[in-house]
């Protein structure tokens, strides 16, 4: 699984952003390119900083010239060069997300197509395989036909540059509230990708799952991921408030939390091994620029944590044999979820009263027993005092193959234990 962050790089002055990314030890960035959608006459009024129409008009002309889709490759050239110099990978590129007026539809489609084509060229230059192109925002009845034509015209370019196009789930606004838009229902997203690939004659299309949008739309995320399966090539982790699309650092939206259990269960089920992106751009904007480097480091730890949780089983697969440390609830949850697939030799515990007894079918031994383990045996700590126990083991001279097990996000929960919890509430 590759880890990256939503770009915090200003393409006009990329060096500082790259330094921050490097210091936070991110290996990659996800570039969301910007472009200016030319405004119609009436929309030129009221531009910032100018009170008269002529000033707004000249600003609009400047924006059109400087930020037209044709300038994308050129504008991001320095960013890509500097990233390469710093060994920072570009994990994917995305087109800008835009709304439009109904009477501007033709202009909008042409604009989005141009952005996507230029984005694919940029991908190729950056050496990345994925171009995220969200569906065109259309009314339900025309959504498939319009998008089908749009995506299939991009397929040839994508093939030429060796880039895969990723569709993305979308919200839509109705009466000031956000509801499920195009590809926000898993079966629709799966059907679209399959039909597009079939018509393109090869696997040119995949899916980028935006967890924030799932949360905003109240999706059952576990089900969404299970339905899409291997079509998911990229996952964007972010928290999102219930009423608008924002990109908050995961675990920070305290009053309206994302279903992270569903995210982790789902990604484990489909053995996700693609691009894992953390997007905390909204949280970042709220912080002072002086504090941002510290935030980036927290973001890196957060996405690492997700990667570890998703790949929890990979840690077990590494070892031919394994033993547990701890004879409590976490050990019970290990045995319930993984006991059959990865049976431990035994468990151990610091409580001497438990030595020689049996817990969940395992013999409980003294930690001293860990001194005589074969080389290919992993020790999985099943106790929240991970660091303290790790120190204890190292002090005993047991320094190899120490791993943490965690039951915060299990595939299923011990029914009896939850029954007890429910009664206690």
């Amino acid at each position: 699984m590759n880890i990256s962050c939503q770009s915090i790089i200003n393409p006009e002055r990329p060096v500082q952003g790259i330094i921050d990314i490097r210091r936070a030890e991110f290996e990659g960035v996800f570039l969301r390119v910007s472009a200016h959608f030319p405004k119609s006459g009436s929309m030129q009024e009221g531009g910032s900083g100018c009170s008269d129409a002529s000033c707004n008009k000249s600003r609009e002309e400047w924006l059109r010239k400087k930020y037209s889709p044709e300038t994308i490759v050129e504008r991001y050239e320095e960013t890509i060069e500097k990233c390469k110099e710093s060994n920072i990978r570009i994990s994917a590129v995305s087109t800008p997300g835009l709304a439009y007026k109904v009477d501007e539809e033709k202009k909008y489609v042409a604009f989005m197509r141009k952005c996507a084509v230029e984005g694919i060229r940029l991908c190729s230059q950056a050496g990345c395989n994925y171009m995220v192109v969200p569906p065109l925002r259309m009314e339900n009845e025309r959504a498939w036909e319009s998008n089908r034509e749009f995506y299939l015209t991009l397929a040839e370019t994508a093939r030429e540059y060796g880039v895969r196009i990723l569709l993305k789930n979308q919200e839509k606004e109705t009466g000031g509230r956000f509801v499920r838009g195009i590809c926000a229902e898993s079966f629709q997203a799966a059907e679209w990708i399959d039909r597009l690939n079939a018509e393109a004659g090869e696997e040119v299309f995949g899916f980028c799952l935006d967890i924030g949008i799932c949360s905003l739309c109240g999706n059952d995320i576990h089900e969404f991921i299970s339905e899409l399966g291997q079509r998911i090539r990229m996952v964007v982790l972010k928290d999102c408030s219930w009423q608008r699309e924002t990109a908050l650092l995961p675990f920070t939206c305290v009053d309206s939390g994302t279903d992270w259990l569903g995210v982790i269960r789902g990604l484990r089920d489909v053995e996700f091994d693609g691009e894992l992106v953390i997007d905390f751009s909204g949280t970042m904007r709220a912080f002072s620029p002086l504090l941002r480097p510290a935030l980036y480091k927290l973001a890196k730890e957060t996405v690492k944590y997700f990667s570890w949780q998703i790949g929890l089983e990979q840690g077990m697969k590494k070892y031919k044999k394994l033993v547990l440390f701890g004879a409590g609830n976490m050990c019970r949850n290990y045995m319930k979820n993984y006991g059959e697939k990865y049976p431990p030799l035994f468990t151990c515990d610091n409580n001497s009263k438990l030595w020689g007894t049996e817990f969940c079918g395992l013999e409980v031994k003294s930690p001293e027993a860990l001194k005589n383990l074969p080389e290919d045996c992993g020790i999985f700590i099943c106790n929240i005092y991970y660091r303290e126990i790790e120190e204890q083991l190292r002090a005993m001279g047991v320094e190899r193959n120490i791993e943490y097990f965690n039951d915060e996000y299990m595939q299923s929960f011990d029914f009896n234990r939850l029954d007890i919890m429910a009664r206690e509430q």
Binding site: E171, G175, G176, G218, H222, S256, D259, R265, Q411, S412
Partner: protein, 312 residues
Amino acid sequence: MLRLGVQTNNVIEDNCPQDGFAILKRAGFSCADFSLNGYLKNTDVYKSDINHFFSQSVQDLEAFFGSHKQGAAEEGILISQMHMPYPIYVPGGDKELNDYLREVVAPKSMALCSFFQCTYIVIHSYKLALYLGSERREWEQTEQFLDTILPMAKEMGITICIENLYDSVRGHLIEGPCCNAVKAAERIDRINDKYHAEVLGFCFDTGHANLIGIDFEDFITTLGHRLKVLHIHDNDGRQDLHQIPFTFTATRENKSSTDWDGFIRGLRNIQYNGVLNFETAPVLSAFPEGMKEAALGFIAQIGHYFAEQIDG
């Protein structure tokens, strides 16, 4: 013109039910959604505080509801749908409690549905995805439960309707059971084929759908003919308030924040010919007693508007 219905909670009193049905009739309704769930409240079930109303024999229950049936008939109100008490399974509840819900409350609710000559009864599916680890396993449990009452449904000519529900993750509302219209349609078809009868259908709850951003038109259109009954009500997108449609806005333009146009289009797409049933009992406790009839009349007017729009 589509018929209009409303739930009986907060209108029909057990000591003189006919008065309540007369109110419904005057307000403009011709149908009622009989709230059996009012006799065993969900808040009590979750606390394992069972009142044993359903411990009475079926004969005694029929005798109890005789005046309700008669009152409805005399006022020309059709009991077009019922709501079974819920939940029908409490995770963490005693075996005794869950056995009682499944083996006593559910079959007796079916018997009462038959007694009222009502064609549809709405149930809440099991909420177990958190525990069991997937929606598929959760549905397997619901289906096991359904298999205990579907033979009765076939014999009695009743269609049991599953309803889209929501769930909560630390205060954030997400999909609960039956929120995937494609899966719901497949399951309903499969089960009806198995029983060689239309024993399972769907109840679309607008309020629950609104809480989790479901596209009304898409959902209803996907369900098609399997959609049998409705729970029409409105909310602010955050809480399950069961209020009058068109009540909530979210912008300075003050347009309704719930997609009622999508609702109308969906029902029009599938040529819905069931009852436009409102699940708006909390409205009646919010308004003063003296305004209850006016509030019901207003709800019925909204129903007329929907009916006109759907009929085109």
